[in-house]
C-alpha cells in the first residue's frame, strides 16, 4: 500500500505548490476578467465576456506589435546565438565552461538595471551618439532611444542566453563520430552542417524559441525603459490597466487573451516543426 501511495506523496509538495501559487491565482484572475464594477463599489462576477472583445479590439495594435517584436527578436537571437553556441561547443576546448560563464556573467545583475544602463549608453548625447553626430556620420536629430530598434535590441540582448544555452546543449551532445562519418562519406563542410549538425541542433533551437519568444512578447520593461509611446507592448498595457487605471477586469482579460494567443502560437509551431521527433531527440 505504501508503495502505491509513494508516488502520490512524492508529487504532493510540488502539486500543492502549483495549486496554491498557480491554479488559485489563475482561477482568481479568470474570475476577475469576467467581473464588472469599480474599485470603490467593488466587483461582481457577471460573466461579462464583452471585456475580452473590447480589450482585444482596443489593444489589437499593441498585441500584434508585441508578437511582431517577439518574432523579430527570436529570429535575431537564433542568428546571433547559433554561431556563439557552435563555436563554444566545437572550438571551446578545455575552456568551454569559462566561455559559458562569461556569457552568463552580465546576467548576475538585475534585468532592470542592465536595461537602464542601455538607456544611458544610447541616450541622445551619450558617448556613443555624440561623437557620431559631431563627425556628421548621423544627423543631429538621429536618436535610438524611443524607436522600435532600441526595444528590439533590448529584448534581443536580455534574452540571448536563453537561446545560446539550449543550442549549446544540443550541439554539445552531437557525437563527433557522426560528423566524422559525414566527412568520410565525402560531405562538404556546408553539407555536413546542413544535413547533420543543424538537424541535430534543432531541439535546442526549438527549446530556445520557447524560452525567448514567450517572455519577449509579453515583456514590458524594455519598451517602458527604451521605448516611447510608439512602441507600447501589450505587457505595458496590462501593467497600466492594473496599476494606473485600476481597471482590473480588462487587465485580467488581456492577460488571459495573451496567454491563449501564445499557447495557440506555440502549439501550431510545435505541430509545424514536427516536434514529436524533436522532443524525442531532446529527451534522449
Amino acid at each position: 500500500m505504501s508503495r502505491r501511495l509513494a508516488p502520490y506523496l512524492l508529487i504532493l509538495p510540488g502539486g500543492l505548490w502549483l495549486l496554491l501559487f498557480f491554479v488559485v491565482p489563475m482561477v482568481a484572475m479568470l474570475s476577475l476578467s469576467l467581473q464588472q464594477g469599480d474599485v470603490v463599489s467593488g466587483y461582481q462576477l457577471t460573466w461579462h465576456w464583452q471585456t475580452y472583445v473590447d480589450g482585444i479590439s482596443n489593444y489589437q495594435t499593441q498585441i500584434i506589435r508585441s508578437l511582431w517584436y517577439g518574432f523579430i527578436t527570436t529570429v535575431l537571437q537564433i542568428v546571433l546565438a547559433f554561431p556563439i553556441a557552435y563555436w563554444i561547443a566545437f572550438r571551446g576546448g578545455r575552456n568551454k565552461s569559462v566561455y559559458l560563464f562569461l556569457i552568463l556573467l552580465p546576467f548576475f545583475v538585475s534585468f532592470v538595471l542592465r536595461t537602464i544602463s542601455w538607456k544611458f549608453i544610447l541616450t541622445d548625447e551619450s558617448f556613443v551618439l555624440a561623437p557620431l553626430k559631431d563627425v556628421g556620420l548621423v544627423s543631429q536629430d538621429f536618436h535610438i532611444l524611443g524607436t522600435p530598434m532600441a526595444v528590439i535590441g533590448g529584448l534581443t540582448y536580455n534574452f540571448l542566453p536563453f537561446m545560446i544555452l539550449p543550442i549549446y546543449v544540443a550541439l554539445e551532445r552531437i557525437d563527433p563520430r557522426v560528423v566524422e562519418a559525414a566527412r568520410d562519406l565525402y560531405a562538404s563542410p556546408v553539407q555536413t552542417f546542413r544535413k547533420v549538425i543543424f538537424p541535430l541542433a534543432l531541439p535546442g533551437v526549438f527549446a530556445g524559441v520557447l524560452m525567448t519568444f514567450v517572455p519577449a512578447s509579453s515583456d514590458y520593461i524594455n519598451s517602458e525603459i527604451l521605448g516611447s509611446s510608439g512602441t507600447t507592448m501589450i505587457g505595458q498595457v496590462i501593467q497600466s490597466q492594473y496599476l494606473r487605471s485600476q481597471n482590473y477586469p480588462t487587465a485580467a482579460a488581456l492577460s488571459f487573451a495573451l496567454m491563449a494567443i501564445l499557447l495557440v502560437g506555440i502549439f501550431t509551431y510545435a505541430r509545424a516543426l514536427g516536434t514529436e521527433d524533436v522532443l524525442k531527440v531532446a529527451a534522449r
Binding site: 464594477g37 469599480d38 463599489s41 467593488g42 536629430d141 516611447s228 509611446s229 494606473r244
Partner: protein, 417 residues
C-alpha cells in the same frame, strides 16, 4: 519508458468508482463549486460613491480610546524632506515620539493599488501617515472610507497657521480627511540653451519646430489638463465633450511626431540628458535640478494657465498609531518647521508665515547660503503671488467613478499608442 508504470490507474478507479451515485454528485457539485470559486474571487469594495463629510460621532467614535504609543510610521515621496530629517529629529526630541520615515510613494496609481486591498480588508498597511495627491485616487480613498476622519481639536497649529486657501479645498471640504503637505504647479520647463525663443504658451508645445523634442506626462490627468487648457478650457469646469476635444488636440500633437515620449518622474532626467528640450514639469523639480546639477532650466507658468495640485497628509483608517500621526501632522504646521521644510523642498508651503522666517534665516546667513535662502523666500514657485494664483487651475473633480473612468479611457489611448 520500458519500466512498469509506477502509477496504478486501478487506484484511481477504486477511489472514484466505489459508489456511482456519489461520483455523479461529486461531479455536479464540482462544477458548481468551480462556479462558486469564481464568484468568491470578487474584489470587495467599500461602497458609498457619494462622499460626505464624516458625522461628528464618526470622528468621536474613531478617536475614542486611541492613545499615544510613542511611535509613528510615515510614508512619503522621494525628495520631500531633507535626508538628514532635521524636522523629524526635532519632533522626536520634543514629543518623545519616534518616527520611521520611508520614501515609498512614487506614483499615486500604484500606491493606491498597493494599499487598497489591505485597507479594505481592515489590515494595517504598516504606515500611520501618508502623503497623497489630490486627484482620482484621493477621491477613491475617501469614497471607500479608507481614511481616518480628522479630529480638528488636535490640529491647533493647522488652525492657526495654514493659509486660507488651504482650508477651503474642493477635494476635501473642511479638511475632513487630510491636511496639505505641499503644493506644486504643473507647468512647462525648457532648456534655454537649445530653445532659442522663450517659451510662454502651452501652444508652444504644439510647434512643429520642436518635433521629437517635447515631453509630456503619462499621467492621464496631467496630460488631459494640458489638452484642456490649450483649448481654453478650465479643467475644473470641463465636461466630457471638452475631454474628447482635448484628446483630439493631444492626438494631433502625437501624430505630428512632436512628442518624444510620455514620461513619469523620469522626465527631469530626460531634460537633463538633452533627450527633450521642452517638457511638462513640476515646479519644485526644476528648482532642485538647477540647484543640484548646476543647470539653467527655465520653468514657466504658461499664459493659458497651469494646474496646481496639493499633496496631503492623511491617516489610513487602519493606522496603529493614529494619535502619534495626528500630532506629527500638526507639528508640520508650526511656522519654524514649515520654513525649514520649504527651504529644502522648494514647493509651495501651506504656511504663508514661513516666508518671514525664511527671510530671517537669509538675513542671518552669509555668502551662498544667503543667496539661496533669499531666492527661496522670493521664489514665485514657493510663495506664489496673487497674480500667479489667478493663472492656476484646479483638477477636475469627478462626481462619480463612471465619469472618472470615462476621463481615463479618453486620454489613455494617447499615452499607450
Amino acid at each position: 519508458m520500458n519500466e512498469p508504470t509506477p502509477f496504478d490507474p486501478v487506484l484511481f478507479r477504486g477511489m472514484t468508482q466505489r459508489r456511482l451515485s456519489r461520483r455523479d454528485a461529486l461531479r455536479i457539485s464540482g462544477l458548481s463549486a468551480a462556479a462558486l470559486a469564481l464568484a468568491a474571487c470578487g474584489v470587495k469594495g467599500q461602497g458609498n460613491t457619494t462622499p460626505t463629510a464624516p458625522a461628528e460621532d464618526a470622528i468621536a467614535k474613531y478617536w475614542a480610546g486611541k492613545t499615544k504609543n510613542g511611535k509613528v510610521d510615515f510614508a512619503n515621496w522621494p525628495l520631500y524632506m531633507d535626508p538628514k530629517q532635521p524636522e523629524l529629529k526635532k519632533f522626536t526630541a520634543e514629543t518623545g515620539i519616534k518616527v520611521t520615515y520611508q520614501e515609498v510613494i512614487e506614483e499615486m496609481g500604484p500606491w493606491f493599488a498597493r494599499t487598497q486591498p489591505q485597507l479594505s480588508a481592515g489590515q494595517s498597511i504598516g504606515f500611520d501617515l501618508m502623503v497623497i495627491t489630490n486627484g482620482i485616487q484621493f477621491k477613491q480613498y475617501v469614497q471607500s472610507s479608507l481614511l481616518a476622519p480628522l479630529d480638528h481639536s488636535k490640529l491647533t497649529n493647522f488652525k492657526a497657521n495654514a493659509g486660507a486657501s488651504y482650508k477651503t479645498s474642493a477635494y476635501d471640504p473642511g479638511n475632513a480627511y487630510s491636511v496639505p503637505w505641499a503644493s506644486g504647479v504643473t507647468g512647462i520647463a525648457y532648456d534655454p540653451a537649445k530653445v532659442k525663443t522663450p517659451i510662454t504658451k502651452l501652444a508652444d508645445l504644439w510647434k512643429t519646430e520642436y518635433k521629437g523634442r517635447v515631453g509630456m506626462f503619462s499621467d492621464t490627468q496631467e496630460l488631459g489638463n494640458f489638452g484642456l487648457m490649450v483649448n481654453g478650457v478650465d479643467p475644473a469646469k470641463s465636461t466630457a465633450t471638452d475631454w474628447q476635444n482635448a484628446a483630439n488636440k493631444l492626438k494631433e500633437q502625437k501624430d505630428a511626431g512632436i512628442v518624444r515620449k510620455y514620461y513619469d518622474q523620469s522626465y527631469i532626467d530626460a531634460l537633463g540628458a538633452g533627450e527633450v528640450w521642452i517638457t511638462q514639469a513640476w515646479s519644485g523639480d526644476v528648482f532642485q535640478k538647477n540647484v543640484s546639477d548646476g543647470t539653467n532650466f527655465q520653468f514657466v507658468i504658461p499664459e493659458e494657465g497651469a494646474t496646481i495640485w496639493t499633496d496631503n497628509m492623511a491617516i489610513p483608517i487602519t493606522a496603529v498609531n493614529p494619535v502619534d500621526a495626528i500630532t506629527l501632522m500638526d507639528f508640520f504646521f508650526r511656522v519654524d518647521i514649515a520654513a525649514t521644510l520649504a527651504e529644502y523642498i522648494n514647493y509651495i508651503t501651506p504656511v504663508p508665515e514661513a516666508q518671514k522666517v525664511i527671510k530671517e534665516h537669509a538675513a542671518a546667513a552669509s555668502g551662498e547660503d544667503k543667496d539661496f535662502l533669499t531666492s527661496v523666500a522670493e521664489s514665485p514657485l514657493v510663495f506664489p503671488s496673487t497674480a500667479d494664483y489667478s493663472k492656476l487651475r484646479y483638477y477636475v473633480e469627478f462626481e462619480n467613478t463612471a465619469l472618472q473612468q470615462q476621463f481615463q479611457s479618453i486620454f489613455e489611448p494617447i499615452v499607450l499608442g
